[in-house]
Point group: C2
Chain length 456, copies 2
């Protein structure tokens, strides 16, 4: 059953690349309201493409950007595949070597915004389905496909959608393609994901921007206050100082620690690739712990006063920061949000106020690998790639994995083919040809393995 | 001699307002290279206007925006009048109630960018000259006029221009109209001006923007480092911590302290007008000292990572701050710049570098009020306004006053008619009709007084 599908995938690669490029040309930036129509276009394109595979698919309106839901195939296990068609903003645009929405294929790489995160990744699954249908005339088992358009915006309408459509969406297992390989020869199934809490603080001092000569010295400067508060979020050892922050942070399971210690992880190389040499987090932790199993607090954006060319001697009325927390173990994002806001509010001097904006909250997800599907998928991946597949952690948040457990009662198997150097969320995002081609083949193998497993 | 000139000023006010509005319509923003041509337009407009008064005037090219120099009149003292035709940027544009470059006259106010700082102020002098010429057929004494186009950009080419043209520009006394009244009924001659040091810091961590999930915890975050450094610039009592910062800061002269204590200054009202209630500077100083005679350090701009709508989980490669210091007494801006840069550099952790950009440096200016011209001008102002004129300090920097002493060997008499609520450097800048009208009359009185004084 599998070999002709893999052959078909190899033969159809040029056409698959054409389809991906068409998809990448749609600037579906979900965080910027100016691109709402483009998000709808991307949803429509996906639904239409799924229909060509005999999948009954359509965009589903939400209060935000539409979801795309499709159903096809029958028999075997019922699998739900999830991906997201929205992409990150592209600024700073001047750092791109080409138009982010005019994809380029060169040097065995597909270049463009979304090439990796997540359009390229989700299309590996769609193309595997297309090959299966082309060879066998049908999908290998019962499949539901769910594509979201607001993953990069904190998924504000995902939970209500899952709740409202739980009967339609519930399956035996979820498959998610939004993660990385461990390295370019070692595929990975991610079983541990950090959660994410996004906050925006706006500190206001004077009721309007002031002249720093006329008022400087006497008037409270909100930029100075904001910096002081942000500087207080970590102690000298790199630990986060929000009260109670570490209360629900477990020590790493010894078995997993043992497995991780055997991985060929070179912290120096990991950092030097981005111009760094010192792990900057908690000083008593390894770099792998810092990015996989320890919580963080990061400043993602700062804005106040005059930021253009030259100089303006303004004493600003407001100062804004976007701050995010990566969460692990049983850390409750709502408890931490409350503690964070209280800490900020208590640090305000007279004459300064703070407003807070909620930019999403999801707890960490830890998968149960005792489900035999996990081992079957791990073996399927190992068959495709040079090295044995590994169960790993991931620093990024994929809240959907937790939602699937909480609202649909199913586990999620996260297998992705991105690499750490894909520059996702950065200028010059790319996806390697190997990630795309062998990614499609990997999903064909996993679908084959899971269908056989359930049938046996 | 004076009365018919004052009458002429009153009669010509509508025409003077028309001329000012024409001048205000030219968006001569000097800090933004996109407006270079508009700065040249403003210089040309001024030169042409001066020519109609029989003043030999022309724009003079510099490496930046042109200067305008004019000469006219003879006899009496030789006075040099200085003003600047460039204006501040207008962002945030959305906070303006109207187009900043389409001036409006309403409620006895002239509204628009530059209405006060400094186009409206400099035109008070030009209009006084116009009235004098209209009535007497000639200027009251020998006058040189110097208008600069880069005052809001730190005057990068002013010193070389003064040096290169010292023989042409040297006069007995400089007159400068870029300051405020003490209050709307009390005119002021500013005899104490703070200096200004402008610095921009760019902290770089990773070589590119990173995904805060993939790298967060392990990679140095330059926004966090910058906040920590900026937070360390003041101690708990509000004092600036740059080493040696207070070494050349004198205590206030007891005589001046006595005079200031008699001024009708209401710190509560001063702050409450901008939504504040607590003097935020050094806690052992009065609010008037904080803004007139004590040095400061202010953050004027902050920028890092993603600052648009929504949220982007970026770990930024760079973080930037614009920082300025107001200087007093004998503080040397170059010594303080060196100490500041060294303090920042020493605070950088591994993997972070800082680049610095120089945005101007000028020491404080303290005028010698023993020159009888100061008392003559103070009396002339007292004749025009309800209250007696005062010798005061000013928080803002007018480096030109120091340059005139250093490079042309002359003192500067600073008399201005702006008010503290003119919103200079902010949205909705305005200049009161009284400031303009009685400002013109004030210059006529001062010109009369100084001419008579020298002639007697």
């Amino acid at each position: 059953m599998l070999t002709p599908v893999l052959d078909r995938i190899d033969a159809d690669l040029p056409a698959a690349l054409d389809r991906l490029q068409t998809f990448l040309r749609i600037p579906s930036i979900s965080t910027d309201p100016a691109y709402a129509e483009k998000c709808a276009d991307a949803a429509a394109w996906l639904a239409t493409d799924l229909q060509t595979l005999g999948i009954e698919a359509s965009p589903r309106p939400t209060e935000g950007h539409p979801m795309v839901v499709g159903h096809g195939g029958d028999g075997g296990p019922h699998l739900l595949f999830y991906g997201h068609y929205d992409v990150q903003p592209v600024d700073p645009l001047e750092l791109w070597s080409h138009d982010p929405f005019e994809p380029i294929i060169e040097d065995d790489m597909i270049r463009g915004r979304g090439a990796s995160d997540d359009k390229g990744q989700l299309m590996t699954f769609v193309e595997a389905c297309r090959a299966w249908v082309a060879v066998h005339g049908a999908l290998p088992c019962q499949l539901t496909l769910l594509f979201e358009g607001e993953e990069e915006s904190g998924s504000p309408f995902l939970i209500p959608f899952l709740k409202d459509n739980a009967d339609e969406l519930r399956a035996d297992l979820a498959l998610i393609c939004d993660t990385t390989m461990f390295n370019k020869e070692t595929p990975a199934i991610t079983t541990m994901l950090r959660g994410l809490l996004g906050e925006e603080i706006v500190v206001t001092g004077p009721s309007r921007d002031l002249h720093s000569g006329a008022y400087g010295g006497a008037a409270a400067n909100p930029a100075r206050i904001l910096c002081k508060i942000l500087a207080s979020l970590h102690d000298e050892t790199g630990r986060v100082t929000v009260p109670g922050f570490y209360d629900s942070v477990p020590e790493l399971d010894p078995a997993l620690a043992e497995q991780w210690s055997k991985l060929d992880f070179n912290a120096d190389a990991f950092l030097s690739e981005v111009g760094l040499s010192h792990p900057a987090g908690e000083q008593d932790r390894t770099a792998l712990e810092m990015i996989w199993s320890r919580p963080t607090c990061e400043i993602n954006g700062l804005n106040s006063g005059y930021t253009g060319d030259g100089f303006k001697t303004v004493l600003p009325s407001q100062a804004t920061a976007k701050v995010s927390f990566r969460l692990v173990g049983q850390q409750d994002p709502h408890v931490i949000r409350t503690a964070f806001r209280q800490m900020v509010t208590e640090a305000l001097p007279p004459d300064c106020t703070a407003a807070f904006h909620d930019h999403g909250a999801s707890p960490a997800s830890i998968m149960s690998t005792s489900d035999p599907a996990f081992e079957a998928a791990r073996q399927a991946l190992s068959d495709e790639w040079p090295n044995e597949a590994a169960f790993v952690g991931a620093g990024g948040s994929i809240p959907i994995a937790g939602y699937f457990r909480d609202y649909l009662g199913m586990d999620a198997l996260l297998a992705g083919f991105a690499r750490n150097d894909n520059q996702i969320h950065s200028p010059n995002e790319k996806y390697d040809m190997d990630s795309f081609h062998k990614g499609i083949r990997s999903w064909a193998r996993i679908l084959s393995a899971l269908s056989q497993k359930k049938a046996s």
